[in-house]
Amino acid sequence: MNHWIVAPIVLPAILAPFIIMVLRYHLDLQRIFSVAGVVGLLGIALTITAQASGGDIQVYELGNWPAPFGIVLVLDRMAAMMVLLTALLALPIVLYAIASGWDDRGKHFHALFHFQLMGVCGAFLTGDAFNLFVFFEVLLIASYGLMTHGGGAVRLKAGVQYVTYNLLGSTLFLFALGTIYAVTGTLNMADIAVRVAELPAEDTALLRVGTVLLLLVFCIKAAVLPLHFWLPASYANAPLPVAALFAIMTKVGAYSILRMYTLGFGPEVEATQGLVGTWLQPAALLTLAVGTIGILGAQHIARMVAFCAIASMGTLLIAISMFTPTATAAALYYIYHSTLATALLFLVADLVMERRGGALAPRPPMAQSGLISALFFVGAIAMAGMPPLSGFVGKLLVLDAARDTEWANAVWAVVLIGSFVTIVGLARAGSLVFWKSHDAQHNTEMDPENDEEVEFLPAPEPMPGLAFTSVFGLVLGLVLLTLFAGPALEYTTKTAEQLFEPQQYISAVLGREG
């Protein structure tokens, strides 16, 4: 067995308790170990991506119990690329959290960070539906701690809402898994796929209920309308580097939809026909529409970025819900873009909020206004999907994949109008934050009380150089994703082909043909 597969879970699982128990009073050591851990995770992720790129599906049997009796981890192209994305995202964020001093504003930031990485990587790698639930819980428990990191009345209140909503989601997940287990008698994803295909047509009612419940759970995680209500308040009130990390969490929901519904409950499978594609596509279109309206209406920069996250999830799920290889290849490319762009905007929003507060209203100028506005501009271009960055390529791929589908007109209209509204919303925010500051300065000069506040303030971060470096790291990621769009798309196309041949996955896991 290839032990590299379990390494992305084992490394954070060892490191996080070590940080809590041994290094709890040594912030510097925590930082060193945390960064080293993330770099290690990146190395592991690169290794397993290289191993998976050959196209073999590798299976890791935990405790050497053969599937479907034991829990298995499965490494295929999609799992590998998602683990790689997690590691690529984690590195700039952990550096930013250190540089901005966010990790010092509460306890156990780095330990929770690694528990979160463990849950995310585990959710991507597991091949067992109940184990997926467990890893969801691991990443959620860590996210509760991270979301309320630093405290404060508003953040804690938002935290209560966030935890409540996700506990409800977990309960729903258990109901869904229970129903599916009651029908199929198994929890191994590959085995579920086999049993569902064999299910007689008259026995599918309960299975259809379970499938829809499961879809609802993943839609909660992916913030699909009308289950997106938790996202703006939670992300906007979380520490923003944490919100940037949470950009991967919504993708866990999207990943789970892709995994479960290409493997077992796809649109072609007779037992669950007409469930996923029918409902997911209109919901995704509405998600995109509501996200862009939210961008226009937001009064606060963090809330605006949160709505950007919802809008990009909408675009992503439009691509996923078509369930064709071309559209899935586009979706997988867009996952990379959307995660990096959302994280970039959250970090820029944090730079802004640390200097002048987050309200989208004229305030006096801030330190390094020019540099931050340039970064915001790059992030906005990427998010809105304008050339030359990868958002343009991603949206182009999604639109191209939608051309021959039933909903083509609606998809084109919503994506294009949505992009336009996003541009308007982000331009409005940018002008209020970066240009109107000079008007505000003008006003304060007339107001004798505030006269001294006009002075140029130093950067509030303890290590502004490192903070900006990590933000530029995300920009670099977007640029590379654009420059190497060809090879990236080639990889995602192969990944999508692998996903749409579930027989390969099933025979790899169950170790037999059929």
Partner: protein
């Protein structure tokens, strides 16, 4: 037996959902607990109900047995929901202590208020 278990799950879920829709945190947490009880009983029933049957196979005689897997799942679910309830009680308590208010909804003032500025 089936009717009893089914109505127990139904009543617990209904009561849980009713309580979750309340405006203050304490009833909401109670509602979440009731829902987790409901899901535990439900998971237990997914292996089919069997009376007075062990959860092990007997290779010497053909006796009825009950499915052991849902019991393992319930155990996991109990542990997780127990821990989660503790977490939400702590977060709700600190939210109440810091804002002197245990309403679960956030007012317009809360959301416009710049987060991070208080930290």
């Amino acid at each position: 037996m089936e009717a009893l278990v089914a109505s127990a799950v139904g009543v617990l879920t209904a009561a849980g959902i009713f309580l979750i829709l309340r405006r203050r945190t304490f009833p909401v947490i109670l509602g979440l607990s009731l829902l987790t009880y409901a899901v535990n009983v439900f998971l237990f029933a997914t292996g089919r109900l069997a009376l007075n049957a062990p959860a092990v196979l007997n290779k010497y005689e053909d006796v009825p047995y009950t499915d052991p897997l849902p019991q393992a799942l319930v155990l996991t679910a109990i542990v997780i929901s127990f821990g989660m309830t503790a977490v939400i009680v702590m977060i709700a308590l600190s939210a109440y202590l810091s804002s002197k208010d245990d309403h679960i909804d956030m007012t317009a003032h809360d959301s416009v208020d710049a987060p991070g500025e208080d930290a």
